[in-house]
């Protein structure tokens, strides 16, 4: 009995356990029998234990380089650094499915534990839904892509991890994305439970709101890490390419953003019930679609796993869930009627609705552009695709409207607003926006950026609105309590974390989009071929190719690349001098036909970009060494007996260093890129602030007269 057998057994029993959770949960939901609900909940906890066992067994196989596991042989090798061995699991189809369902069982267990004494009517059905989704992924692993498949005759050495994935951001990117996708399953499951039990009030939202926010945060962080990886690893110099898989992750984030806003309207006003359940259904569907796109091979993407057999079962599952969900929403339309009506157009709820419509519009545009190749092929027989100009042209102006709404929203209150009070609230932010636009026009070339100028102005407007909100809140609290300003600010934020966390997120998004606007409107790129000693000028930088570098089993990024050719470049900007060292890593091919030396140059190669980060602008450099002059030394090395391969490679490397051929360089100066990552950090900080439990949640219950009790409890805030 091997560990692979135990792993497979865990998956088999896991499938049975998940199916039991479906049956027991549905029975408990229908009959109201508590013991069956408890049993279904325990089945989900047990599933977490089984999947944890499976994860540990697979990780152990990676760590000990057990190539009898097909997955380990395909995605790892003895010389793969331990960090990448530990994270190589999710670079494969089957391993990532295991991670997906493991995270799902962890999230499901957490929410079912937290609601074990609440939502007693809804939770059993939600348990059944969560069990059903887990069962589908376990079914895929058992019948289509097993992480515990073994090889009859294991190879002595594995193929190694795809070199492009040897980047810290890329290793954290998939778990973050999956946590996001999986997290949205929780509110979806409770929404289905609420619909089935006709309990469509705010209870299911209150119970799962934090999970939606966690999912949104992780998905956003995952998207950002993917962008960082693209910018610093892929060698093309950009952070977003409107690639189908990138788009697939952005779409549920957009609908999730809409959901997080619109559930507040239901909580506060009892409105948008149909909209909210529809949004969470759409978000879950898009999360499944994102998972499906990476696995189906139906659209070309650098991020996809390539051709696979998972497309059909995934499509059947998505179609089934979609049809069932839509039918359920339609059948419950009478229970989804709003409690209240809009009192005034100038109210926070109306602006939330507008924000939702803009987010959905962006999502629809991205969906259309992403699936256009399939749509065009179905309609015309010819596959045509739309590129970045399509997306940028439509989405950039809509994004400006969104940022504008995110600035106005915090100034409005629920129900109705007084014009005179609003005029006062808008005065300072508008003045700052006007000063910003005048200063940008007078002192910078921002006017050439067109939409970028509008974005910079809106970012200033958003930031001022939020600072003003903090200031007005602190002042109000001081008036009520007489606390010193720092204490008042700290307690204000601490007791209204959701509100102020949200405001911080708004600033983060504005800063992030400021970075996007600046870098896409004002970047400059040069592709040049330089001999050692030659110089290229780009914007304010003079970049001189000083000398080539070679590294054998000592690449600077610690990816485990056996061979790395690069360059030392002297950079001068005004009075500033510094050196940069871009490189290109070479990973050997498994093909013996290329020869013992040639295979080191015929396998995968990756750009190890060197970046000079700056608040104002980044200097980005990549190198593509010209290997044509090395053909002779490589051929001679191939003719030697294999035991001399190491020495032959050293000789080839020395030849390159002693007589360097011209190398191709790509130099990019991207203004404000760093603000994208800083903005992302601010978003995360705001989301964490909003997620942190408020002191109210810990408040003790009191039992005195109604009115007195109410007054006393409220005065504690």
């Amino acid at each position: 009995m091997s560990s692979a057998d135990v792993g497979t057994a865990a998956l088999v029993v896991g499938l049975g356990t998940a199916l039991y959770a479906v049956g027991a949960g549905a029975y408990a939901g229908r009959t109201g029998r508590r013991e069956w609900a408890a049993s279904a909940r325990r089945a989900i906890y047990a599933l977490l234990g089984l999947l944890l066992l499976a994860m540990v067994l697979l990780e152990a196989a990676y760590v000990r380089s057990d190539f009898s596991f097909e997955l380990v042989a395909q995605n790892s090798s003895t010389d793969t650094p331990t960090f990448y061995k530990l994270t190589a699991m999710w670079s494969s189809q089957a391993g990532s499915l295991l991670l997906w369902v493991f995270l799902l069982s962890a999230f499901s267990s957490a929410v079912l534990f937290l609601t074990r004494r609440r939502l007693r009517e809804i939770a059993p059905y939600a348990t059944a839904v969560l069990g059903g989704v887990a069962a589908f992924f376990l079914f895929l692993m058992l019948f289509y892509a097993s992480p515990f498949a073994t090889l009859g005759s294991p190879p002595v050495e594995g193929s190694g991890l795809n070199p492009l994935l040897r980047h810290p951001a890329m290793m954290f990117h998939p778990p973050m994305l999956y946590t996001g996708y999986v997290g949205f399953t929780i509110p979806f499951a409770f929404a289905v439970g609420a619909l089935l039990k006709r309990r469509t009030g705010p209870e299911w939202i209150r119970a799962t709101r934090r999970f939606a926010l966690v999912a949104w945060t992780f998905l956003g962080f995952g998207i950002l890490l993917g962008s960082l990886w693209s910018y610093s690893e892929l060698g093309w110099g950009g952070y977003w390419a409107w690639d189908p898989v990138e788009n697939a992750s952005l779409m549920p984030w957009l609908t999730g953003t809409a959901f997080i806003h619109s559930i507040m309207v239901q909580e506060k006003r009892g409105m948008l019930r149909t909209w909210n359940v529809s949004l969470i259904v759409a978000t879950f569907m898009l999360a499944l679609l994102g998972t499906f796109l990476v696995r189906s091979g139906i659209l070309d993407s650098i991020h996809a796993f390539g051709e696979s057999t998972l497309g059909k079962p995934f499509l059947v599952f998505i179609a089934t869930v979609l049809i069932a969900s839509v039918a359920l929403v339609v059948s419950r339309r009478s229970d989804l009627r709003s409690d209240a009506r809009v009192d005034a157009l100038l109210s926070r709820e109306v602006f939330f609705l507008l924000n939702n419509l803009v987010l959905i519009l962006i999502c629809v545009v991205i969906f259309w552009g992403t699936f256009f190749p399939l749509i065009s092929e179905a309609l015309t027989g010819t596959e045509e695709s739309v590129g970045p100009p399509f997306f940028n042209g439509i989405i950039a102006p809509i994004a400006l409207v969104l940022v504008g709404l995110s600035a106005i929203g915090p100034l409005l209150t629920w129900r109705r607003n007084s014009f005179s009070l609003l005029r006062r609230a808008f005065a300072v932010p508008l003045a700052v926006a006007v000063v910003t636009v005048v200063a940008l026009l007078a002192f910078t070339d921002a006017a050439e950026g067109g939409l970028a100028l509008v974005m910079f102005t809106l970012a200033a407007f958003v930031a001022t609105v939020v600072v003003q909100e903090f200031w007005r809140g602190t002042r109000a609290r001081r008036t009520m309590t007489g606390e010193p300003p720092p204490v008042a600010l700290s307690r204000l934020v601490g007791r209204n974390r959701r509100r102020y966390g949200g405001y911080v997120v708004h600033v983060g998004i504005a800063v992030l989009l400021l970075g996007v606007a600046g870098s896409s409107s004002f970047n400059e790129q040069k592709d040049v071929r330089l001999e050692p000693g030659e110089t290229v000028t780009i914007k304010d930088y003079e970049v001189t190719y000083r000398e080539p570098t070679v590294a054998i089993e000592d690449d600077r990024s610690g990816t485990g690349a056996p061979l790395s050719f690069g360059a030392v470049l002297d950079v001068r900007k005004d009075d500033e001098h510094f050196t940069m060292r871009p490189a290109r890593n070479y990973y050997p091919s498994q093909s013996e036909a290329m020869g013992p030396v040639g295979r080191y140059f015929g396998g995968e190669a990756t750009s190890e970009v060197d970046l000079r980060w700056g608040l104002k602008q980044d200097l980005w450099l990549a190198i593509q060494p010209d290997l044509r002059k090395l053909k002779g030394p490589i051929r001679r090395g191939n003719e030697l007996p294999e035991r001399f391969a190491g020495q032959a490679i050293v000789a080839v490397a020395r030849h390159y260093a002693d007589d360097p051929p011209p190398a191709a360089f790509r130099a990019i100066v991207s203004p404000l890129v760093v603000w994208i990552w800083l903005g992302g950090g601010i978003v995360m900080a705001g989301a964490l602030l909003a997620l942190w439990p408020s002191p109210e949640a810990r408040r003790r219950r009191v039992t005195s007269l109604y009115a007195a009790r109410l007054g006393r409890e409220l005065s504690r805030a």
Binding site: V6, A9, A10, V12, W36, R424, N496
Partner: protein, 91 residues
């Protein structure tokens, strides 16, 4: 076949854990709304505080805030009444 033995062992352990609640049928009501009412109470308090903060910040006029506050407090009192009714207490 080598999967069968570990599968049987795991299935037995899981069955023991999962089926345990069925051996001691619960006497609790399926629809105990206490926790839901507590959550509703907290949410209503938060709403009242939010409205008051908006008023103190100058975002809500007194003419708009007073009736809103009274309405929200009325709703909070109704929730408290439901909670007390559930606990068998009387005013």
């Amino acid at each position: 076949m080598e999967v069968v033995l570990p599968a049987l062992v795991l299935a037995a352990v899981i069955a023991l854990l999962v089926l345990q609640p069925l051996r001691t049928p619960s006497t609790e009501s399926a629809s105990d709304p206490r926790a839901d009412l507590e959550a509703a109470k907290e949410a209503k308090y938060r709403e009242i505080k939010d409205a008051e903060l908006d008023f103190r910040m100058g975002k809500l006029s007194e003419a708009d805030w007073r009736p809103l506050d009274a309405e929200l407090r009325g709703q909070a009192i109704a929730i408290l009444r439901d909670l007390d009714r559930l606990e068998g207490r009387r005013m």
